[in-house]
Symmetry: C2
Subunit: 205 residues, 2 copies
């Protein structure tokens, strides 16, 4: 009697299923890595300090050094600012910040003001970390659903492991009043401006 399932079509069945699973699995893993939000909150509702952000997309480096602010800069020295990769992809496509966007601002001391290339400002060491996160779920009542978080411990090389959103008067009041778009000071971030809705055209010249 001829078997209903031959070795040939048995192979096809066995072969097709795991291959399909494999492709689905690989695609999902890649998409999750890119598209999943890096905004992670603990059980108390505090934002867990993001990691690996120096491999995210750099968007700008505003500088408000102490010596230009009577020694009392609100945000001392360099800020290296990054957006998470999935939200960058969304920004390139749409020119909008998606729910779950994480913007990290790493504070860097002024290491020097004179170099072989001339007089100026040159980055020294890491002195702090802040983030802003857009989350409907965690920040339902905030303007644009943005929250501002500070991991810096003053006069310490350490950082907090998690942080609560800052009171509205600390950050939001100024961002709401002065920022060019959706609480972001887009006017100081050429990387974001060049890429908004422009896809790959915005990634270089």
């Amino acid at each position: 009697m001829k078997p209903a399932i031959t070795s040939k079509n048995l192979c096809s069945i066995i072969f097709a299923v795991p291959l399909g699973l494999l492709f689905t699995s690989a695609t999902n893993a890649a998409e999750q890595q890119t598209n999943s939000t890096h905004a992670r909150f603990d059980k108390k509702g505090q934002l867990i300090r993001p990691s690996g952000y120096r491999e995210w997309i750099f968007i700008g480096a505003p500088l408000t050094p102490n010596d230009m602010n009577d020694g009392k800069a609100a945000f001392p020295e360099f800020h290296n600012v990054y957006i998470d990769p999935g939200s960058w992809d969304h920004w390139k496509k749409t020119g909008e910040f998606r729910d779950g966007t994480v913007i990290v601002k790493e504070l860097v001391s002024v290491g020097g003001k004179q170099a072989p290339s001339g007089n100026g400002y040159f980055q020294g060491d890491y002195i702090g970390l802040e983030a802003m996160v857009k989350s409907k779920h965690h920040l339902p009542d905030a303007n644009g659903n943005w929250g501002f978080f500070r991991f810096t411990i003053e006069n310490s090389p350490q950082l907090h492991k998690s942080a609560s959103a800052q009171p509205e008067e600390n950050c939001m009041a100024c961002h709401q009043a002065k920022a060019a778009k959706d609480q972001m000071f887009l006017q100081y971030y050429p990387v974001l401006r060049a890429a908004a809705g422009k896809g790959e055209q915005g990634t270089g010249r």
Copy 2:
């Protein structure tokens, strides 16, 4: 007679080969994307302008504004400096610049000196692009096999499509004499310093 190849082991053979190929192929594609050098030279030996570099790894933003250099800065205003991803991976593992490393420096005008966050320097628009490339093949006689390339067209928003290596006295003399490591001014690049040979530990705090 029992067949030498049963449907079961026939499947195992057929199944194992394409799966192995598939994994090899996927791994190779990913490795090539990450590890292949972005240094591309045309038939005349000129470096073709890199693309997509705003998605590379940001390493620092030295600033030598005109107003701190008697209006004659050698490198006007902000420099946004990036390293290509494959060479970044190599740097994280070894603390060395591999053959094929591309460092891009995008020049950005000072857009303003006053913002809601304080007095300082804030990025404006793109005004130029330079690169340094390490290549034994293309720069066999240069110090560390590094070459320096300038795509900027003065007073124009356009850039050259390709560029020849600059004469030694234009860039190398200073880099050779003053740079902290392998012609790179590592002293101004905390991102590189933190990651040298440290793997993922160097990607954030």
